[in-house]
């Protein structure tokens, strides 16, 4: 079919073929200057014994484990506040969503400045309020402190994403149901926990999965705000793939790390697709 062919060829060339090559590369030792040599599962075994691989993996999990509940609970509370029709609440919705449309790279640069030790407004505000007595070194010195600063900046950047989807789900609840609970004299929080939350649970799960997948793939914010410092302790999984593939030119090893990452993500995507599929039935 002439209409379908260009898209199919495009996907074959720019998604299927690279995927095939990545799988092939992951079984080879290849550093671009030397010809590729078949090593079987060698690259995968190497990852298992690679300390930095585990540092990156555990750090990425830690980042994901902290930021996901913040985004979901925070986003849901914002949605409860902003889902109602008043001009002020619509304005709140719009402003919370604005950072979602700007780039993660650019927002990371913005927060790189805000968290800068001597030139940033975060330290200035905290000093003026007397919360701290001398400027804090937020980024690139202590892994946990860097992580918290980056989580704060990414929360600002993406919390509106979950909020807007939760608003959609809350507004889609049939009014008869709300009416019934009003007649029963349920309090506000009773209605939220017993009516609104159960009826929007599928959206909550979906947004949670989307957030987890996004966080496991985090790169821009760490590349820009800490550059992996101190000592690659804040280099995420994608960051370590990038380091191996490009600056270090360990193409085969980088491909094996990509495969591990892709398979991890796949597990979450499958759950996500099953959830969406069920909603069609």
């Amino acid at each position: 079919m002439a209409y379908l062919a260009p898209a199919v060829l495009f996907v074959l060339a720019f998604t299927v073929y690279p995927l095939g090559q990545m799988i092939w590369m992951s079984f080879h030792d290849w550093s671009l200057i030397t010809p590729p040599r078949y090593v079987g599962l060698g690259n995968y075994q190497r990852a298992f014994a690679d300390r930095q691989y585990w540092v990156s993996f555990v750090f990425t999990l830690k980042y994901t484990a902290i930021i996901t509940p913040v985004l979901i609970i925070g986003g849901y509370l914002l949605a409860l506040l902003a889902s109602q029709p008043s001009r002020l609440r619509r304005l709140t919705r719009t402003t919370v969503f604005i950072p979602v449309v700007i780039g993660l790279g650019v927002s990371s640069l913005l927060w790189y400045w805000l968290f800068s030790t001597d030139f940033g407004l975060v330290n200035r505000v905290l000093l003026d309020l007397g919360v701290i007595s001398k400027p804090v070194l937020w980024l690139g010195v202590d892994a946990d402190r860097s992580n918290l600063a980056i989580i704060a900046s990414v929360t600002w950047k993406v919390i509106g994403f979950g909020m807007i989807l939760f608003v959609g789900a809350i507004q889609a609840i049939p009014t008869e149901i709300t009416e019934a609970s009003l007649v029963d004299g349920a309090s506000y929080w009773q209605r939220v926990t017993r009516v609104v939350l159960p009826l929007t649970l599928r959206t909550v799960l979906l947004v949670t999965l989307v957030s987890i997948i996004g966080s496991l793939l985090a790169f821009d914010q760490f590349y820009i705000m800490t550059a992996g410092q101190p000592q690659n302790e804040t280099a995420t999984s994608v960051f370590y793939v990038y380091l191996n593939s490009f600056p270090y030119l360990r193409l085969g090893y980088g491909a094996a790390l990509s495969m591990i990452l892709a398979l991890t993500i796949l597990a979450f995507t499958v759950v996500q697709l099953l959830l969406t599929r069920r909603s069609h039935a």
């Binding site: 079919m1 209409y3 379908l4 260009p6 780039g103 400045w113 805000l114 989807l165 892709a262």
Partner: protein, 296 residues
């Protein structure tokens, strides 16, 4: 009685019917304003820092409000390295090419999937959506090797192809849904008049799926304009840098006085403006696209 019911019906979940006008109302209002302020402050701070004079922009500790207004930072950005016009042209060129590629590939494909009987259609659709399952971050090395072999690294066309590959599944999904929803009677009338299938697509279906096309173009623009890692991998030559790349490079620039914070803020402001404008103008399309994209 009916009136009361109607009024209640119109009220969505969560409204506190009893205390709505009372103290709670004011509290909620104050909370809304506080949240809106917190969300806008970083952007406002960046904008203000971009119009500080050179010395003030480099001051430590930083000032809250500019004591003087100056466009020096923008001037330095204009002349930085290859000059702002080069980077703007690269970013804009890539984004426009990505929109063009995405639409040229997905509108016809969505048409075929929505309207024609093709053997193995389901399988083809799944293959086309493959990129949904494989994150592009994992495919960058083989993509880079492929692009290097055919001379597409350091080109806007190459980066636009990468961005199209990222955006294709979402676009196809949105367009196929939208095209499937167009009533067939419209096309049948055109076919009776002797229109070819291409004429049906261009004259009947495209005009009736404008909202979906706008959504697809909007998402392609925002993604391409903002995308960082792919550009970082594909563009190694300074003259082909996009805006996020040159700003990230300027961050670590340690010339005499260290990072040029004022110039960085000018760059951030310029990068943010198109996204925010496009969003505010096309908010409706953005939100509807997000709903289909994420929740499906």
């Amino acid at each position: 009685m009916t009136a009361t019911l109607e009024r209640r019906r119109a009220r969505p979940v969560g409204v506190r019917t009893h205390t709505h006008a009372g103290r709670t109302g004011y509290l909620i209002g104050a909370l809304c304003i506080a949240i809106a302020t917190v969300m806008l402050l970083p952007l406002v701070a960046s904008l203000l820092a971009s119009v500080k004079p050179t010395a003030e922009a480099a001051a430590s500790p930083p000032t809250y409000l500019p004591h003087d207004l100056s466009l020096d930072s923008y001037q330095r950005l204009w002349n930085y390295q290859q000059g702002l016009p080069t980077y703007l042209a690269n970013s804009l060129g890539t984004a426009l090419l990505a929109i063009a590629f995405t639409l040229l590939l997905t509108v016809p494909a969505a048409y075929a999937l929505a309207r024609f009987r093709i053997p193995g259609k389901e399988v083809i659709f799944v293959v086309l959506l493959l990129a949904l399952i494989v994150p592009y971050q994992a495919l960058l090395t083989p993509m880079f090797l492929l692009f290097a072999r055919v001379g597409l690294t350091n080109t806007l066309v190459g980066l636009a192809i990468l961005h199209t590959a990222i955006q294709l599944p979402f676009s196809l999904y949105v367009l196929r849904n939208s095209l499937s929803a167009v009533p067939r009677e419209l096309e049948e009338a055109a076919i009776v008049d002797g229109a070819s299938s291409l004429q049906v697509l261009v004259r009947v279906l495209v005009p009736s799926t404008v909202p979906a096309i706008v959504t697809v173009a909007l998402f392609a623009f925002i993604m391409s304009w903002n995308e960082f890692l792919g550009a970082l991998v594909m563009m190694s030559r300074g003259s082909s840098f996009t805006l996020p790349l040159i700003l990230a490079a300027a961050r670590t620039e340690t010339s005499l006085g260290g990072t040029d914070w004022g110039m960085l803020q000018a760059g951030i402001t310029i990068s943010v403006i198109p996204c925010v404008l496009v969003y505010l103008l096309l908010q409706r399309y953005y939100v509807s696209g997000l709903m289909t994209g994420a929740v499906k």
